[in-house]
Amino acid sequence: MLASASARAQVLQIDTAHTLFHESPTKTNMTVYTPALDVTVNPAEWISVRGGYEADVVSGASVSTKAGPAYQAANPGIDVVTTASVKDLRHAPRGGLTLRKGDVSYTAVYTYGTENDYKSHNIFVAARTDAYEHNTQFEISYARNWDLVCDRIQAVNDAPPRFRAIEDSSGCFTGSDPLRTRHALGIDGLHGTWTQAWTSIFATQLVYTAQILDGFQSNPYRSVILAQGLKAQEYHPGNRTRQALALRLNVFVKPIKVAFRLTGRVYRDTWDITSGTGELEAERYLFEGFRAAARFRYYKQSGASFWSDDYTGGEPPLGPKGQYWTGDRELSPFSSFALGARFTYSLTPKGTGRVAGVFAGFKAGVSGDLVQFSYDEFTLGGAPITHARAFIVGLNMSAQF
C-alpha cells in the first residue's frame, strides 16, 4: 500500500493468478481450480482503467443428504449419508476504474458472476485518502450484491419440513423447466481500513467489516433427515448480519532482516457464530529480488445457534427439532490450522531501462498451503470426518509495460 505509487508510472500492467484447491475428507472430495487475469491501463496519472476475468472450475462430490447418529442407530446398515457429484463452472468478468486527485482516490468496480445455478451482480465503490504526511491512510468501501439462486418450485401447501432439494441444475435460468424458480439474495457490505506507519520499521492496519445478507442462504441441493422417513431441503434463516474486526501488525527486525506480519481477527454474526483467527507470516530476501515467506494460521469458530448433528426427535415425533436445519459443516463448531510457504521473484530495471528490453517490471510467485480441519460435532451418520485436509497451490505473475 505504501509503495503503490510506483505503479502509477507504468502504462500497462497484466496480473494473473491461479489457485488449485483439493480436499478429500470422508465420503467426499472437492477440487476447485481458480484462474484469474486482470489488465490495468494507466492512460494518465489521474486515472486507471482495469478489466479482468476470474473463474471457478469445480468438480468432486459433496454431501447431498445429511443424517445424524440417531437415525443411523435406528437404521443400521443403511448408508444414510449420500453424496452427489458436483461439476460447475463460475465465470466472473469484472471491470472498473480508479480516479486520483492529490492524496485522494476513488475506485468503482463491477463484477458479474454466472454459473448454472447462480447469478450475481456486484458493485464495489471505495474512497481512500492519505493523512498526516502520508503516514496514515484511510479507506472506506461499500459493496452490494444482487444475487439469484436456482431452486425447485415447492408444492403450494408444503411447509419447509416437506420441501425437497433439487437434484441438479438442469432447467435453471433457462425457462425450460416449469418446476424451477429463483430466489433473491441481497448482500450489503461495508469495510473500513486505517493503515498507520508508526516508525520506520513498524506499521499497523485496523480493519472493520460489516455485512448484511437478506434472502435465500441455504444450499438448494442439500437435504437433512428430520425424522424417520422425512428428508427435507436444508432450511436456513433469511437474514444474517456479520461483523469482523482485524488488527494487523507489520514489523521489520533488522538484525535478522526478516519482516513479521501478525494478524488477529474476531468475528460475530446474528446466527451466533463467533470466531477468532490468528496468523503469523515471516518473510525475508534470500538474494536480490528473491524472497521467501512462511506462514501459519489458526482458526476456531463456534456453531450456529440452530446447528445440530441430529435433527431427529422433534415435536411432534415426525416434526423437525427446531425452526431451522442445516447439513453445512461450515456452520458447525470446528477449528483449523494452516501451514504455508510462498516464494516470490521480482525483476526491477535499473534506472529507466527495461527488463529483457520489454518489461518495466516483472514479478512471479508460487505458494503452497496445507489446511487441517478438526470438526467437534459434525459427523456423517455418526461417523466422524477424517482426512479433512486441504491442499492449496498458487501461482501468480505480474508484468508491467
Binding site: F21, D88, D369
Partner: protein, 71 residues
C-alpha cells in the same frame, strides 16, 4: 460496552497518529514489498477465497461477493 470503548478509543488513537512523524527518507523499509499488507492482492484474494469458503465467518480482509459453486 466493548463497542462503546472502541468508539472512544479508536478516534483517540487516530488523533494520536497525527503526532507520529516518519519522514520520507525513513520509509525505505516500509516501502519494500516485504512490508506490504497486500503485497500480492490478487493471489491473496484467491487464497482467502479458498480458505474462507470452508468457514462460517467472513470479513476483516476485504469486501467481495458473488456466488460460487463450492458452498
Amino acid at each position: 460496552m466493548r463497542i462503546r470503548t472502541a468508539i472512544v478509543l479508536v478516534p483517540i488513537f487516530v488523533l494520536a497518529a497525527g503526532c507520529v512523524t516518519v519522514k520520507p527518507q525513513q520509509r525505505a523499509v516500509l516501502a519494500d514489498p516485504i512490508m506490504q499488507f497486500e503485497g500480492d492482492p490478487q493471489a491473496n484474494a484467491q487464497l482467502r477465497h479458498a480458505i474462507e469458503n470452508r468457514e462460517g465467518s467472513y470479513g476483516g480482509a476485504g469486501v467481495s461477493g458473488g456466488g460460487c459453486g463450492c458452498n
